[in-house]
């Protein structure tokens, strides 16, 4: 159930959506396509689903060349940002759709729909219409509908983008658990790096129609390959032309080797961690992450002048 994207390019008029993109997704993995809007991530997902045609390149789904296959022959499940619920059908009919068009026996359809309603916790809502559901429920219904025909791969296009923060966090957690249960190869598109880090076990970071880096969340955070990945995945500071993560900075009351003078602008506490926002004497904004203990040791206060020192930093060669 692996997915292979090989040298795919796609243009819309003058706009290059994808430029020679290659990506390998292992069977059973949960992969995020992460990037700002216009980076080409949705286009890539839609090309894998067969909803767009690449100008060049190949799509291979579990060893089979799918480039010329129509979407209905690819056996993929697709979940849209705005649910794409069939408004004139009940929840049950929505979920049964993929099975009905495959002419499965009625009893089998009923059993499978019951199973999926339980899986997405919508047992009590089978006879409602989509308009009578909340956004989160609609998206769970859309997921059940996509899973019903037992697709080889599950593709989700900004699946939580239209939901409010609390529901989004809930569904995120739920998608991860679902993936542990169902084990279908899953790719989801997001522009939210926290969401990608939280849910995926592999992330492909996209920017300007290209893939910048593919790796686990830890790899991307600890060993970013490019300046873009450094700045887009996790927080990053630019200090004297070098990139450094907030937790890699330390503060002191006296100048030390290679330290920079800065003014404490704001101190915020987050659970065990503290974030200190500063402005260097050169006018650069900085964010430093400290433990509470360290904060207490330093007896830091707003308006103080301190010395910032990087414990490690990176330089990217363009």
């Amino acid at each position: 159930m692996s997915i292979l994207v090989r040298n795919v390019s796609k243009r819309f008029g003058d706009f290059t959506a994808l430029e020679n993109v290659s990506l390998e997704v292992e069977g059973g993995s949960l992969t995020a396509l992460l990037g700002p809007s216009g980076s080409g991530k949705s286009t890539l997902l839609r090309i894998i689903a067969g909803l767009e045609w690449p100008d060049a390149g190949e799509i291979v789904i579990s060893g089979e060349d799918a480039t010329a296959l129509r979407p209905q022959r690819r056996n993929v499940g697709f979940v849209f940002q705005h649910y794409a619920a069939f408004k004139h059908m009940t929840v049950r009919e929505n979920i049964a759709f993929g099975l009905k068009v495959r002419k499965r026996p009625k009893a089998e359809i009923r059993r499978r729909v019951d199973e999926l309603l339980a899986l997405v916790q919508l047992e009590a809502f089978g006879h409602r219409y989509p308009a009578q559901l909340s956004g989160g429920q609609r998206q769970r219904m859309a997921l059940a509908r996509a899973l019903a025909p037992e697709p080889k791969v599950l593709l989700l296009d900004e699946p939580f983008g239209a939901l409010d923060a609390r529901v989004r966090a809930e569904l995120r957690e739920w998608l991860r658990r679902l993936h542990d249960e169902v084990h279908v190869t899953t790719i989801f598109v997001t522009h939210d790096q926290a969401e990608a880090m939280d849910v995926a076990n592999q992330i492909a970071v996209m920017n300007h129609a290209r893939i910048e880096q593919v790796g686990t969340p830890t790899e991307l955070y600890d060993e970013p390959a490019t300046e873009f990945v450094m700045s887009f995945v996790g927080e990053a500071n630019l200090l004297g032309g070098k990139w450094v993560r907030p937790h890699e900075l330390d503060l002191g009351h006296a100048p030390a080797e290679a330290s920079v003078e800065a003014l404490v602008e704001r101190i915020t506490l987050y659970g065990f961690d503290a974030r200190v926002e500063l402005t260097t004497s050169g006018g650069e904004p900085l964010t430093v992450q400290l433990t509470r203990e360290r904060l207490r040791e330093l007896e830091l206060e707003q308006g103080q002048i301190v010395w910032v020192r990087a414990e490690s930093d990176r330089v990217f060669v363009a």
Binding site: A49, P71, Q72, A85, V101
Partner: protein, 266 residues
Amino acid sequence: MSRLLARIGLRSIMLFYLAAILVGPLAIVFWRTFEDGLGPAWAALTTPETINALKLTLIITVIAVPVNTVFGIVCALAIVRRRFPGKGLLNAFIDLPLALSPVVVGLSLFLLYGQAGWFGWLSDYGVQVLFALPSMVIATIFVSLPFVAREVVPTLREIGDEQEQAARTLGAGGWQTFWRITLPSIRWAVTYGVILTTARCLGEYGAVAVVSGRLQGQTETATLRVQERYEAFDLAGAYAISIMLALFAILVLVAMTVLRPREEAA
């Protein structure tokens, strides 16, 4: 208080307008028809010429409405969902029947199918188009062409194509997607389009008047018959046929309302 007055005032104006323009004339027609009881009205309706005229109008409507419904849906799908050269032209041409006077439509058909016209040779093979059912059907189709497409286009735009894409990824082919997803989503637009088309077909006068030749008992539709009776000073006959036309129209409206299933909260 002033808002209440404004509302009452607005309502009165609206009701008065409707009464003066719509209900009044209709009521007079009804009253005149049954002025002398049911007998004369019934007698006027059951002459062979009138029965033939009503039958002809129904036949033309029954052919023209399905043809224009299919054409309208296909056109709307092409305009909203496809990209092709000449799309703007198609979009503009669909409205042509609304802009053209029906008499002009009739005349152009006359020129096209007449002895010297492009399709004049058809009569050499025994296909009688002018002064017969074919030209009347063509004229009616022409004048009632835009309604279904014009109703369906905005609805198709509004629903977008995500549901159709979802159906595709779930394994549905083109036909299945159309029957199970697209058509149910646009059914109300199609319904209203069909009502308007039917009304237009029943009421068509100008184009049919030109191409039919108005042969009594043969190519005379109900509206032509009304005019004929009126000119023959048979007002009771004219009124009776008018009532029948109005009843057909009301019947269509009622049928659509009854057929309309309980609308799910959308």
